[in-house]
Assembly symmetry: C2
Homo-oligomer: 477 residues x 2
């Protein structure tokens, strides 16, 4: 490998591309971009570049390849695996898409929306709403995360069950390649079988194959009926049976089915303002059920009542509440979405974003709980998430009164226990958060050599100078 | 390029891998595999290999890379662009997956089915039905096409509107690489963000990057309600308005919306046994509407009546019929699916499988009709297809009494006219049939250099000896 060329001369050439007003150089300005939300990764960088156009992004990457300068693309800086954080070496420049934040157009007849890579997710949602359409990607960080990052990480969120993740929500892309070439793939077609699927290669590549500067996204009709309910349950196995019944009753109208443990409900009612337990008695587990219908409001009502009546009659559901206003619907979701934040005041937490086949979830929970409690007596397991997708955020809070640092020092050890069980069930060690820095070496360890090798071959031909977000996803050389 | 090594010694080494019972060598045995359905491509090959396992496929490809012997994978031989036909050079061996046709397992709880690459589509559909599930891919050739081919061509068909094409229906793959390495990607996960999306790279690659030997497919609940209707209309613009109304009324319950011209109805009633015109008067255009509901049969009934009543009241729909039995539903679909075959007795036909943004369909039809009629007076345009996906099979039958060969000699000229209009509307020259040999050079001509170049780079690192279905999709060297 050549040494990176971060001479002041080279830095000036980068700065000249975007102009002085769009370069950040002071330690104070740069600091917030060097660390991610959890504080797991803290990097260094001499400069942040804020290009205003695809052409400027292309000029930056061309110069980066020429001078072998590593570039880290950053959008909302909300990633959870260190993919958007520069390395500690201080050799990486940050390229921020924050100025390229425009909605380019919204077409409610064709049901598409085009936006620049730096458009904020919430603004895309609002633009869709303004023409009576739905853009269904929904995440806790939607007020700050940006479309380019959502695509680069193939974001999931709470509506995957009905609408799919970001990969399924995208029709076309514009990507600047590491060499500075621009690929215009901004297509708006539902069907297009013309050669290799480059679009899906860039989606989920975490900025290691190029920078997504624009996207054409799918819109959907706004649901006319919506019902949100919370059911108290005895076990994950019962939650799975309720999910199966809900799938059969509601089909694609079942837009969300989230699992939460009692501990998570306690954490949120204790620490998150405005959250209260909507059921009068505590229950070991809870299912948050979201039903959206496109034909009539009555259909959603009929569905939610049929489901809960069946659950109460069979004894599967111990108690349940149906939100009777939009405010109550929001409150139920707020509890679910605060679950991760609510762990913070409880001390250190070791987290896993895993998936297994949906039908294996109860077996996974049982095996993982036993193994973790054996290794860390007193650990408080707060496993919640998208049961309908087989995706559990298997989070573990430290034992009450334990030393936080000593607990967190066991991160890898606990990971290995949990991942071992996940892999024995043919699951995934990263269901939606991606690989980044956090799981890069683990991925190489668990996957067949040929798979990592194919990824490396692709990386090398797309990014011959290895300047695009190096050190993330896979190691090169 | 090295010369291909088709010495008899090399041929014997290939034959030994599968055993004498699984090699076809006589001209008579080989002949049916050298030509595709339309007769557009006719190739030559000294040998057909029928491996019985992934291991045998791997041994064949390893030997092929070692000896630089081109291999053409073939499943049901139903492709329409020459992708599965060996070249005329006689240097290509055919690898048929017909013996690897097993359904490996069906899991109605997890809603997945695993099958070998040679499993016939209809048998996959039946295996799903046997556990009260739906595998929604549906094509005219489903009795003979095979899953590996469906995946390699990213097949579409008549239910894409609600369920997506083959790409959306697949969770995992097993692929033998050109070097003989085996990639085991037979995952069953709805969410798995772990590195580059290799799966989607193989899907739609038309067998040029490897051979798909196994797949994990998604299953769905069987609809409980279904309604199929035929509406007589004045124009494609009216059909688009009816489609928009249907989308809003039915949401994801709208599983099919097909456009047909009067000429196509005449061709099918004239030439296809059992097809009759279900409406008493002729209409310039027809929409075939399929609604499937998962909550109750009544919902589908309510939807179809609401749609047609709205259409009749507004005058958009001139007349309509709702199928009142499964047999009538099948008959309406049979008319639509016979439309291509019904053109054969009418002489030569020049075909296009194009897509444009859905909202541009009326404008496309108008422009294309005018241009084609200007170039070929008397041409009989029979444009039909998946209006809801923006995908039109823009087929042109020769003028009555014209010379067939003279008409077909104008294939490229007519293509250029139609493709020019498609491209001016940012459409695709191959919506669902793929590139194969038929559109390879056209693709290279119309796409940006960087796009074809990226495909070539991928091809080279996956298939360094260029033995996998060479000459298809993109030209190498």
């Amino acid at each position: 490998m050549d040494m990176p060329g971060l001479s002041s001369d080279v830095l000036e050439r980068f700065a000249a591309i975007v102009g002085p007003a769009n370069v950040l150089r002071s330690a104070e300005d740069i600091a917030p971009r060097l660390v991610e939300n959890r504080g797991l990764y803290r990097g260094a960088s001499p400069m942040i570049l804020k290009p205003g156009s695809t052409r400027e992004v292309a000029d930056i990457l061309q110069l980066a390849t020429e001078t072998r300068t590593p570039i880290v693309p950053q959008t909302g800086n909300t990633g959870l695996v260190g993919g958007q954080v520069p390395r500690e070496s201080g050799t990486d420049l940050i390229l921020s898409l924050e100025r390229m934040n425009r909605i380019l157009d919204v077409d409610p007849v064709a049901n598409v929306l085009a936006a620049e890579g730096g458009a904020i997710l919430a603004e895309v949602q609002h633009a869709a709403e303004s023409v009576q359409r739905l853009f269904p990607l929904s995440l806790g960080s939607e007020g700050s995360c940006r479309i380019g990052g959502n695509l680069s990480t193939n974001a999931g969120g709470t509506a995957v069950l009905a609408y799919g993740n970001m990969r399924q929500l995208c029709l076309g892309l514009e990507v600047v390649l590491p060499t500075g070439e621009i690929w215009d793939g901004m297509r708006r077609l539902k069907k297009d079988n013309t050669g290799y699927d480059l679009r899906d290669l860039f989606i989920g590549a975490e900025g290691t194959l190029g920078i997504i500067t624009g996207a054409v996204l799918k819109l959907f009709p706004q649901p006319v009926g919506r019902q949100v309910a919370l059911a108290g349950l005895t076990s994950p196995a019962d939650a799975l049976r309720l999910f199966e019944k809900a799938s059969n009753l509601c089909g694609t109208s079942l837009t969300g089915f989230e699992l939460m443990p009692r501990l998570g409900v306690e954490f949120t009612t204790r620490h998150i303002e405005g959250v209260r337990d909507p059921l009068s008695e505590p229950h070991p587990w809870y299912a948050l059920i979201d039903i959206s219908t496109s034909d009539s409001a009555e259909t959603a009502e009929t569905m939610v009542h049929a489901l809960l009546e069946w659950g109460l009659e069979t004894g599967l559901v111990r108690d349940a509440v149906i939100a009777n206003s939009v405010a109550q619907q929001t409150a139920l979701w707020h509890m679910r979405e605060s679950m991760s934040d609510a762990q913070k005041p409880e001390g250190g937490s070791i987290k896993h974003d895993v998936s297994v086949p949906v039908s294996s979830i109860p077996r996974f929970m049982e095996a993982a709980d036993a193994a973790v409690m054996g290794a860390v007596p007193g650990a408080r397991i707060c496993a919640f998430g998208h049961l309908g997708d087989g995706n559990i955020h298997y989070n573990i809070s430290q034992p009450v009164g334990a030393d936080k640092a000593a607990f967190l020092a066991r991160w890898r050890e606990v990971n290995e226990i949990v991942y071992g069980i996940v892999l024995s069930m043919n699951g995934s060690i990263s269901a939606e958060h991606g690989i980044g820095q956090l799981k890069r070496d683990e991925l190489a360890r668990i996957r067949p050599t040929i798979e990592i090798d194919l990824m490396r071959r692709i990386k090398r031909v797309f990014d011959p100078a290895n300047i695009m977000n190096p050190g993330k996803v896979i190691a090169i050389d």
